[in-house]
Amino acid sequence: MDGLWLQALLLTDSTVRLATPLVFCALAGLFSERAGVVNIALEGKMLGGAFAAAAAAAVTGSAWIGLLAGIGFACALALVHGFATITHRGEQVVSGVAINIMVAGLGPTLADAWFGQAGRIPLPGASARFAPIELPGAAALAHVPVLGSVYAEVVSGHNLLVYAAVLAVPTVAWLVGRTRFGLRLRAVGESPAAVDTAGVSVEALRYRALLVAGVLCGLAGAYLSIAQNAGFIRDMTAGKGYLALAALIFGKWRPVPAVLACLLFALADAVQVRLQGTPLPGVGTIPTQLIQAVPYLLTILLLAGFVGRAVAPRALGQPYVKER
């Protein structure tokens, strides 16, 4: 029983770690998609953030400067995205694909040229990385049954960015639901013309939404390269941006359900890592690839209306043109 309990704790712990970048990215997607801009570029912006964070941290030796660089680069990509989709009313999916591909090439190219490590950027020392934080009393409480062990194993011992992700969820929910910015954000994704005639600039609002999304993507990328791992490697996002997009759709474009979907997908990932070919009693060995495919299959089923129905913001994907 004790062993099983420990297994469950460890599984929960790794779920939290794996969910963190998904949560940042899904919330990023929420801002841009509720504002009416399809954000297929989450993947590229996160990868760009991971690259810039690692590069800056490697050069300066400071995790904080790395974080700022990651956020800054992701925001720069968000501005490119906005320039194409908002200012020039370009096709949103195409521009997202363009950013993803461009960044996928740019990261390794620059890493090669600047660090000479075959597309990788290793971090020089511990200060360049966000280290796990031992919460007060974790060691002392570790022996208290149930609550104590949960506190020690699951709540304590994560890096700063994990806690930031936890805080981000209620903050985003409040921002979207209770503030002027949130009201306008929700309106502009449904009816940009209503926002425009109410005297609010559709373009400025969408740029702002994309920038907030850029900050969150930067956090996700920095988490990957200077918190969870020690450095940048090529294609290190490995489809997490798309997975976050799937979670956003799965959560029907609402903050809390989207985050729950992130946790579900992360759990599938954690289970897959834990199992790795271990046969389950009565089932036999489950191929890891099957578990890897589960989030994508679930999203396909959801979109097909076999599990609930997801209704997108009405103006999603449509550039705003004053009618004439």
Partner: protein
């Protein structure tokens, strides 16, 4: 004399090579209802959108209460005390009424304080002007009349002293329109100024104090409403004497061509829009269906055309039962759809490719799976000639033709395939008066050639001008039938509003 509420001087606006407003002047007295009338495309909406800051004029000045104002954005107009109710409502449908009022007038970064302030303001406005509406209702679930009320409230909550309404009655029953006019009169009596854009002479005569007429982007006349007549205004709008009704001899209808029995049709959301409709159209007659937009006429027409599968009932064409799908055209059905830009044409396609739309499987146009291009282009060229569609360029994409010429292209296609039954929806929407005369003439000629025509239009004048027999549709039911001779506007208006169905 106080300064005018609004004064426009020399407003000019171009869209690419098109001049939509050409040196337009306009003076609107405070505390009056001022009408602006003109045909579709005369530049009325453009002018009002400039006053509201939605578009920017290329030249000209705007004065509000006697001082020059720079109105480059809607927010500048709102600050200057100008509010606008657009033809297509600018509402966020999943939002509540209160959230819609709040949008752009939040009064601070947090929503809570603004909400309670607006709730109180809303209660006050409801009392003062009789503008009652539930603040917590979802706007998308309200009937159009109430949605329009929300639009008016939006403007008033933002402190509008000048209210612009763009074609406000298009979606209203005559009775709802009368309600609206009562509200507008109340606003005027409280000292506010109303600018009413319309192409309906009836409304100008009924409610305005003064009227300005636009034609081809220019302001052509200003009149005191009391000192003018419908006929004068109509001539000013068109620039020449016009024939409001086509020449039409009485008809002798023949055998039934279309028979519809107990038809039930659902819309895309699964709501029942046609509720047990039965009707017959005979050879050599035009049957007109009158009704306010959204009472099931569109769905009825689409079901007969085979575009929308009926939930129950049957449709017979020349005695043969029609199933949904393409076979209607084989059986001799032609269809001029209500929304030609979405349905009747592929606007990015060349005119020639559009003349086979729906008929692409005919051996005339297609052999062994391949299109017969030369033949298609020749056919198109012939029809451009016959229907005087300009420019005479079969290779030009449909979006490069004007609204009237696009409609003539659709009409040519549907008439030239010689249908025994022609379904016609809103044939003259967005079409200039010259083309309207031509289109009406063609439809009457079809009837005289012994074809059966079923006409759906929300323009009562059009129904009265064309139909031999008038059916009135309300809430999915046919609530009355009148012969053209006995039809009278007031009676039809009551039927359209669902009043006195029993008496009819």
């Amino acid at each position: 004399m106080p300064a005018p509420a609004v004064e426009l001087r020399g407003i000019t606006k171009r869209f690419g090579p098109v001049v939509a407003n050409d040196r337009v002047d306009l003076t609107v007295q405070a505390g009056s209802i001022h009408g602006i009338i003109g045909e579709n495309g005369a530049g009325k909406s453009t002018l009002m959108n400039i006053l509201y800051g939605y578009y920017q004029a290329d030249a000209g000045t705007i004065l509000v209460d006697g001082t020059t104002r720079r109105i480059d954005r809607p927010v500048a107009a709102i600050r200057a005390g100008i509010g606008m109710v657009h033809q297509h409502f600018m509402l966020v449908e999943p939002f509540t009424v209160l959230e819609n009022l709040l949008l752009g007038a939040e009064g601070g970064p947090l929503l809570a304080p603004g909400s309670s302030r607006l709730r109180a303001e809303l209660a006050r406005l409801s009392r003062e002007y009789g503008l009652e509406v539930d603040p917590d209702a979802r706007v998308g679930e309200l009937p159009v009349g109430l949605q329009q009320r929300v639009e008016i409230l939006k403007a008033l909550c933002r402190g509008a002293r000048v209210l612009i309404l763009d074609e406000p009655t298009g979606v209203l029953t005559p009775q709802e329109a009368d309600d609206l006019f009562r509200i507008l009169a109340g606003l005027r009596d409280q000292g506010r100024t109303v600018l009413l854009i319309t192409h309906k002479l009836r409304e100008i005569m009924a409610i305005t104090d003064r009227v300005s007429v636009m034609r081809g982007g220019r302001m052509v006349a200003h009149r005191e409403t009391a000192a003018t007549t419908r006929e004068e205004l109509a001539e000013l709008m068109v620039g020449r004497k016009i024939q409001l009704r086509p020449d039409k001899r009485p008809t002798r209808p023949g055998a039934p061509v279309l028979e519809v029995r107990d038809l039930e049709v659902l819309d895309d959301r699964g709501v029942r829009r046609v509720k047990g409709v039965s009707l017959t159209v005979r050879a050599g007659e035009i049957v007109g269906i009158a009704g306010v937009a959204g009472n099931g006429q569109s769905e009825l027409l689409e079901a007969i055309a085979g575009i929308r599968a009926p939930a129950a009932g049957e449709i017979r064409l020349a005695g043969r039962r029609l199933e949904p799908g393409a076979e209607g055209r084989q059986a001799g059905l032609g269809h001029v759809p209500e929304d030609r830009l979405r349905m009747g044409l592929v606007t990015s396609f060349a005119a020639a490719e559009n003349v086979i739309l729906g008929y692409q499987r005919r051996p005339d146009y297609c052999a062994a799976g391949l299109l017969r291009r030369t033949r298609i282009v020749e056919t198109c060229a012939r029809w451009l000639d016959r229907y005087d569609i300009r420019p005479r360029a079969p290779g030009l994409p449909a979006h490069a033709f004007s609204g009237g010429n696009q409609q003539k292209l659709v009409l040519a296609r549907e008439l030239e395939h010689d249908p025994s039954l022609l379904l016609v929806g809103q044939p003259t929407r967005g079409v200039d008066i010259g083309a309207i005369e031509f289109i009406h003439g063609q439809l009457v000629a079809m009837r005289d050639a012994g074809k059966a025509l079923l006409l759906v239009s929300v323009e009562l004048d059009e129904i009265l001008a064309l139909a031999d027999r008038i059916l009135v549709m309300f809430d999915g039911h046919l609530v009355g039938e009148l012969a053209a001779a006995e039809a009278e506007e007031r009676r039809i208006g009551l039927l359209m509003a669902g009043v006195g169905a029993e008496a009819a």
